[in-house]
Symmetry: C2
Subunit: 377 residues, 2 copies
């Protein structure tokens, strides 16, 4: 047993956590904005931002010297104020958003150069995860699977027929040392309709896709290269210049031309198709807090009639109402007889919709963009 423990410890010693902190979270407008993206908000009522929650969850696994944050230049100050412990070396700044393949690929390439053989794990900055011990156990298994050569992901055991998440269809158990619950992945499936989601949940072979990827950096890069050789070449050129005086010039030259594509398409799906993907089922609470309906659900804890209220200075008077109120103002908000309502109150914009329409917020943001109303985006 001592041997086993130290071997596990060895895998974890090579582990580096990467937090891509990029997405604005358009479905959470007008709370989330270009200058105040989702990860800089407290959506759980915990009293701290989702980014800080993510950091606090990863420190006991990776240690605070081994967590890298990839974020936009505009967010540098906010990120550093959220995580004063974050070392300069662990901040990767994007000059503009190029999606997750570029962000995570660059982190992997930088870390691989600094520390050959490193295992990286990518964890979104803006998800909510409960039960940290279970999360940690799943990550440790995923790191073991990565150490064994797999690209590993953590899938979350569904608690309901959610239509807002992607699903992972699991296949047979893999026999991976120190990763006893690892399964092969048959395929990834996009957000289903309710009927399909219900089938998935009753089937028992489907997990929610939590978007967490754990792999040896060299394997991850290899997979990106198979999918998009030009993207890999760009990433490697950037990484080679990163810790040199050439960084700025190379970023200016290379970064804007990188393919803008999610890591799901360059890594997860092709790795699954090639039998290189392992999934560790996680039985912790998880939510990507993708829209206001999921905030309402998070806070209602299953009580349909509840009204969730978020906001430091919230002053709400509600009569026969349910849903969620998010406020950044000190105004008195009065609700009468509105069920499943979403009210988001900010200084310059107000949103009123219902939980059933929460996903449509994104299309309103798109409409505002098109109409040039960028002052409120």
């Amino acid at each position: 047993m001592v041997g086993v423990m130290s071997e596990r410890q060895n895998s974890l010693n090579h582990f580096y956590a990467v937090i891509p902190a990029g997405g604005i979270g358009s479905r959470l407008w007008p709370l989330s904005r270009a200058d105040a993206p989702k990860f800089l908000h407290d959506l759980t009522g915990s009293g701290q931002t989702l980014l800080r929650d993510t950091w606090d969850r990863l420190v006991p696994i990776a240690g605070e010297q081994r967590i890298m944050v990839v974020t936009g230049r505009a967010h540098r100050a906010a990120v550093e104020s959220q995580i004063p412990e974050l070392a300069d070396l662990n901040v990767v700044l994007e000059s503009e958003p190029r999606d997750s393949s570029a962000a995570i690929g660059l982190a992997a390439a930088i870390l691989e150069l600094r520390e050959p053989g490193v295992i990286i794990g990518s964890f979104a900055a803006d998800h909510v995860i409960g039960n940290r011990p279970r999360f940690k156990r799943a990550v440790i298994e995923a790191v073991a699977a990565a150490d064994a050569g797999y690209i590993a992901t953590i899938g979350i055991t569904p608690t309901e027929a959610a239509v807002g998440f992607g699903y992972i269809r699991c296949a047979a158990a893999l026999d991976i040392k120190h990763a006893p619950s690892a399964l092969a992945v048959d395929s990834f499936v996009e957000k289903p309709d309710l009927e399909t989601a219900e089938k998935y949940v009753s089937d028992g072979n489907y997990l929610w896709n939590g978007g967490m990827f754990i792999a040896r950096a060299d394997r991850l890069l290899e997979q990106i290269g198979e999918s998009d050789p030009a993207l890999l070449a760009g990433i490697l050129e950037l990484a080679a210049a990163w810790d040199t005086p050439e960084r700025g010039a190379v970023v200016d030259r290379i970064w804007p031309g990188l393919t803008k594509i999610a890591i799901d398409y360059t890594v997860a799906e092709p790795a699954a198709a090639a039998g290189r993907l392992a999934v560790i089922p996680g039985d912790f609470d998880w939510d990507d807090v993708g829209d206001f309906a999921s905030i309402a659900k998070l806070h209602a804890s299953g009580r349909k009639s509840d009204l969730a209220i978020l906001g430091e200075n919230a002053r709400v008077l509600a009569d026969s109402s349910s849903g969620v109120v998010v406020t950044q103002t000190k105004r008195l908000i009065t609700l009468i007889g509105v069920s499943d309502i979403i009210v988001v109150d900010t200084d310059d914009a107000l949103l009123v919709t219902t939980t059933a329409h929460a996903q449509r917020v994104k299309s309103v943001v798109d409409a505002l963009k098109l109409s040039g109303s960028t002052d409120v985006l």
Copy 2:
């Protein structure tokens, strides 16, 4: 015919219009406030306040020297700024609200002392009336009925089974000179439920109670005295002091002790019971704009799917939504998939409800009063 016209003209020569501008309009909170009552708002989108609309409607009937406004001391400046033409002599200021019997009774008593035999007509400051020629014709008949000794009211021919209004049950035609359409009044009935309202409308003998009363001032005071002798005594003492240096002292002593009661109970109902009430059916558009649902209805002009937007700086983006948005701010208001919604956006308070719950706004105001939240009232 010349003789008839001049006789009519004679009645109208004795006519004085009184506008009690008192009610806050609690059902229109947070738009209506103690310091910004309903009559000081533009609820029709006409570009001017309801008070100014009322003034403009009465000037062609009474003349601008013969319209008296009874209002609270706090509203003096606002009223005078709305109606620069208003003569000082025609402003009666209440030190505190004592309801309509005191307000209209005092106006009647002051005017009767100044001009014995005067006929007064009381018209709410915060109702919406369309088709002014028809309104004028009804008032002229009512003045004729008043001249003949009746206490007259104008009832509005219902256009739908409204549950938000009181009704007047009409009896036989009265044979009054120059008031050919005058009917006796059987009784007043309070706001009915929908089934009852439908019966009223199909019955054909019911009119909406528009709260307009036209009578010789001496008859009106006599009726108040029959109902509440102490109230009449107080009113007469106030009126006697009004145009003297004693006014202030007498107001301070008498006004706060006057019975707080609506004129419906001291005048209209007892006069109807005694056969002294005449009703002139009016076929003009009328609404008391009692709540936000009626604002929505006014603006929708029958189109159920419409979203009415009120506010000088309104900036609204609506997707599959109907109802009414009233805004006093410059914020962008976005609605997605909310039907029959009411959104009222002010600097310090926001209301979200539905047209079906519009009447419940008053109870929220009551709750705010009780909880001491007077900063937003």
